[in-house]
């Protein structure tokens, strides 16, 4: 029987691309603003009048930590902008705690999760806080980092990478960075572009191709 309910078919549902037309459904208003109430992250310019049903992020309590902005471009193997990508982030709070089910006592004001659609130039932008360090395998401590997922037209499944900070403590000893060939580690390290502004480009293929992870 050609369907997904037969016992002999049971298993992980396969990934399929988000395609080019996700903007009226996935990137909600404020999805890329983890500390404020702006519309950052959405692309209402791509939604015809009368059909903008996007959720609007609600107000949040104050969030502890240093507010930062992260911006970058998603480019393809020809160096061209990817205007129909969706970038997602997941990170700890400034004390290095994940706002997860596993620890429901943590402050819910900081969602830890963000989503941004790229613009016509392939650029995405997040407002968030700089995460604290979280435990790694064994007794190790990971350098401050943000998990990044990239989806979009032409991406059959999500690509997963990480953003580290160039002045981050523990970069040299980070248990995950240490698994990446030294010559490619720079693709995972955001560069300071201003007082609280960080630059992190994502190159899907080709020269200086971003390191993507099998998790």
């Amino acid at each position: 029987m050609a369907d997904n309910q037969s016992p002999e078919r049971f298993g992980q549902t396969p990934w399929q691309t988000v395609g080019p037309f996700f903007h009226y459904a996935l990137p909600w208003k404020g999805g890329a603003d983890l500390v404020g109430t702006s519309d950052l992250g959405a692309r209402p310019d791509l939604i015809p009048s009368g059909h903008d049903l996007l959720h609007v992020a609600g107000p949040r309590g104050p969030v502890a930590g240093d507010i930062i902005e992260i911006t970058g471009r998603v480019t393809d193997g020809a160096g061209e902008a990817v205007p129909d990508a969706l970038v997602e982030i997941w990170q700890a709070d400034s004390a290095g705690r994940y706002p997860s089910e596993a620890d429901p006592s943590l402050a819910p004001a900081f969602p830890g999760f963000g989503r941004a659609a790229t613009d016509e130039d392939g650029t995405f932008r997040f407002r968030t806080i700089r995460p604290g360090r979280v435990p790694g395998p064994g007794n190790s401590l990971q350098a401050s980092h943000i998990a990044v997922g990239v989806l979009g037209r032409g991406l059959i499944k999500r690509l997963v990478t990480r953003l580290y900070f160039e002045d981050g403590e523990g970069l040299e000893d980070d248990p995950i960075l240490g698994l990446v060939p030294a010559a490619r580690r720079a693709t995972l390290v955001a560069r300071r572009a201003g007082d609280a502004l960080w630059r992190f480009d994502i190159r899907l293929r080709g020269e200086h191709e971003t390191v993507f992870f099998d998790i």
Binding site: A2, T13, W15, Q16, P20, Y24, G31, G77, L155, F212
Partner: protein, 232 residues
């Protein structure tokens, strides 16, 4: 010694990032192999309140506007499970699709099929304690695309889930049984058989509501749990 993974890795049914018949993948997939990393807290945690972030349930895609949308009304129901068949409760599923004529409500969709003023084609559902979900919509139409000569996408509904952790993220497309376009579609065919059949819903008379709507069943299976230490 490394700890065992909390979540299973990809199984053999997951498509590759590079699938040349789907042409956009050739410039948008990595050329270098993925770097395998252990699952740390970063990968095994996830947002605790997806509905608070992404919005509350909107389970009737035919009820967003003043009038009734054109097309065949359908009910899609199923469960969200992990790989051991355990229900994923309180899980948000985001939904989007084309209208009955195969047209998306999107400024960049130039397909010459009518927009339906009464159909946006987006919604959200949240699973119950047994992992069950259900939504009402219209059956989306097939539509042409520019991938190759005479290329048509089969009717499909896009579904997006975070699941319990960063590692369990899933975005997929649900297809309809007996659609002759599925074996011709480079996106569906990026998934090798027999696993492609996991993307195809089943018509179900029990889900069908008399004199109202056809019913389809579609279960969504997220990664996990990982191997136990004994199995590792």
């Amino acid at each position: 010694m490394a700890e065992p993974d909390a979540y299973a890795r990809e199984d053999a049914g997951q498509p590759p990032s590079l699938h040349p018949p789907y042409k956009s993948t050739s410039l948008r997939s990595p050329s270098r192999p993925l770097v395998r990393i252990p699952q740390t807290l970063t990968e095994t945690t996830g947002p605790r309140d997806a509905a608070g972030l992404m919005g509350p349930a909107m389970a009737d895609l035919t009820a967003h506007h003043a009038g009734v949308p054109q097309g065949q009304r359908i009910i899609v129901a199923g469960r969200v499970l992990d790989e051991r068949g355990r229900p994923a409760a309180n899980t948000l599923v985001e939904i989007w699709q084309a209208n009955a004529a195969g047209r998306y409500i999107h400024a960049k969709d130039q397909w010459d099929a009518p927009i339906d003023p009464n159909f946006t084609g987006m919604g959200r559902v949240i699973t119950d304690a047994e992992g069950r979900y259900q939504f009402v919509t219209v059956r989306p139409g097939a539509y042409p695309w520019g991938n190759h000569d005479n290329a048509w996408r089969p009717s499909h509904i896009h579904l997006s889930l975070l699941g319990p952790a960063f590692a369990t993220r899933l975005v997929t497309q649900m297809y309809f049984p007996d659609d002759p376009l599925i074996p011709l579609d480079p996106i569906a065919c990026a998934v090798p058989q027999p696993f492609r059949d996991r993307l195809v819903a089943r018509f179900d008379l029990d889900t069908t509501r008399p004199s109202w709507a056809l019913g389809y069943l579609f279960d969504l299976v997220l990664r996990g749990p990982g191997a136990t230490p004994m199995e590792a």
